[in-house]
Amino acid sequence: MITLEELRRIAALAKLSLSDEEIEHFRAEFERIVEYVSALDRIRALDELEPLDSVVSHTNAFADDVPHQSLPTAEALANAPRHNESFFKVPKVIASEWTPDQNNGQ
């Protein structure tokens, strides 16, 4: 049983704003989907298997530490909804919106 509270938390994590109606709608679908995917719980064969991240078997795909041409600033900014000649612009982020792991060197 997924609570509305839980779905609101998930929506906030995903930065989506859902109306109560949408949340309610999602919940009904979610329950069916979650019920369906929990079919995996009934598969005993999975218990002793290791998780698989990827089907590729190679490792160590590296690049050499040699600089390449970066984008011209104008091109880097061209697609931005708001920018000036050197920066992307967003509505002021208030200091309290600092996320814990920014580690911004000031």
Partner: protein, 493 residues
């Protein structure tokens, strides 16, 4: 050092240090990492998080991380991989940071710190992992927040210590040791002001003798040694005060505010941590072979503490001197090159070199804000200066003058000495004339000396030095003066 009165309580501290690696390019794209470039010039589709762009790991990031791992005695995981740490922030373009989570490349090491009482203490290293930096948000230049993504994707290592630190002082020593190691290894410039080295702390307090940990807080924004010490002292005292009043510590993240000298909680509700880590599907695992590890190990430089001990032993210099000299690898290199350039090496001369470095050289470096690499007097020339001084060819006063001249002249010290006639005068006949002049110009001194005021001797030596423009050999002058005073004494008798 700031002392904290912890009374019945004991602090338990662990540090998380983020160090920017000195690679030429970013961790996952080939944009330059150059600091201070014009905003949004070191960016490309990968670090801008453009749709469809993919990361490719910079080999040097692994190489550098291995250096730190091996220097701290960590175990290197033969196969490690990256994970995505998901959170939103305007200067985090992909909406996730590529980091390592479940299996960091290095784990289980330690760093040794030397406490003030001369004993050493081991601080455990839980893990060292690779990750990428975020960009920068500038909040106060415009009505909007400005975003510069040059720093975005610059490689970092995060070094997580065990909760083995027991005081703010120890935390500073640990951070200094880490910084020194990073700089010795040539993998980080250690510049805390520019944010190349950043530090967060996990702090709790507990009753002395207890083996359980108290509830910890995470203190952020500790961006200088002084702030580490002040913030930890504040936070420890705060926690003790809360507990002493019967309160409980809330597990939370607190920001250090240097201007108010206090920590304050970040509104915890907004930061419900749920980073939804999962394996990064765009990168393949990093596999480190035994050969790779051995090669990196073989190429490691001598580490600071080992070098300190060797400098003391090999050159007979005091622990204090050795400690200062090894603060930076290049400074110790300078010292050793100077020692190696001596034609007649001796412990006395080693100590003279050390003295010059600790006083004049460091003073000039500080004044000019340069590092030893761009110091104008090469170690070979400093060695020659020391030899002239040790052979008494020049007085220490002349040596200082010479040092000042060498700063702006490429000449060899012996050339300058010859050219400027700086050679110390040890010609007894000439000096005797000067001694006579000093005595005749200060006739009362003889009286005073005879009356037991021995201090006038120094005055007379000084006078002779002045007449000679500093070139007189002060010891010879002294001998001559003593003889003359004794002589006149005998005459009077």
């Amino acid at each position: 050092m700031q002392s904290v009165h912890t009374g019945d309580y004991e602090a338990v501290i662990g540090l998380e240090v983020h160090a920017q690696l000195l690679t030429a390019t970013k961790a996952f794209c080939r944009c330059s990492t150059q600091y201070g470039a014009a905003p949004n010039t070191n960016v490309c589709p990968v670090c801008l998080g453009h749709p469809g762009a993919l990361p490719v790991l910079n080999r040097q990031v692994v190489e550098f991380t291995l250096r730190m791992g091996l220097a701290t005695g960590c175990t290197i995981r033969p196969r490690s991989r990256f994970a995505r740490k998901n959170y939103f922030y305007p200067d985090l373009p992909k909406g996730y940071q590529i980091s390592q989570y479940e299996d960091p490349i290095c784990y289980g090491g330690f760093v040794e710190i030397e406490l003030e009482d001369g004993t050493t203490k081991r601080i455990g290293i839980t893990r060292i992992h690779m990750e990428e930096d975020a960009g920068k948000s500038i909040h106060d230049h415009d009505v909007d927040t400005l975003i510069d993504l040059n720093r975005c994707g610059v490689p970092l290592i995060e070094i997580v210590s065990e909760p083995d630190i027991r005081s703010p002082g120890e935390a500073v020593l640990y951070l200094q040791a880490i910084r020194q190691l990073l700089m010795y290894l040539g993998i980080c410039d250690g510049n805390m002001e520019e944010g190349s080295l950043r530090c967060d702390a996990n702090v709790s307090v507990r009753r002395r003798g207890s083996d359980r940990f108290g509830t910890k807080t995470e203190v952020k924004n500790l961006n200088s040694f002084r702030n580490v010490e002040r913030a930890l002292a504040y936070e420890i005292e705060r926690q003790i005060a809360v507990l002493a009043q019967g309160g409980t510590i809330e597990q939370e993240t607190r920001m250090w505010d240097a201007s108010s000298g206090s920590t304050r909680p970040m509104r915890s509700k907004e930061f419900a941590h749920d980073y939804r880590y999962f394996p990064e599907p765009d990168l393949v695992p990093v596999e480190v072979s035994a050969e790779w590890i051995e090669r990196v190990r073989a190429e490691l430089p001598e580490l600071p503490l080992a070098r300190k001990r060797r400098l003391q032993e090999q050159y007979g210099i005091p622990a204090y001197d050795a400690g200062i000299l090894i603060a930076e690898r290049s400074l110790a290199d300078y010292f050793e090159r100077a020692c190696g350039a001596l034609r007649e090496p001796s412990p006395e001369r080693y100590k003279l070199i050390s003295n010059w470095i600790m006083t004049e050289v460091l003073r000039i470096l500080g004044e000019r804000k340069i590092d030893i690499g761009s110091f104008p007097i090469e170690p070979e020339r400093l060695a020659e200066l020391v030899e002239l001084q040790a052979q008494r060819t020049i007085s220490s006063r002349i040596a200082k003058e010479l040092f000042a001249e060498l700063l702006s002249s490429p000449a060899r010290p012996s050339e300058l000495v010859a050219e400027r006639g700086m050679v110390q005068v040890s010609d007894a006949g000439y000096l005797e004339q000067l001694v006579e002049r000093a005595l005749s110009e200060n006739p009362d001194t003889i009286e005073k000396y005879r009356a037991g005021k021995v201090a006038v001797l120094g005055f007379l030596v000084g006078q002779v030095m002045k007449y000679s423009q500093g070139k007189a050999n002060p010891e010879l002058v002294r001998t001559l003066l003593l003889e003359r005073l004794g002589h006149s004494d005998a005459l009077a008798r």
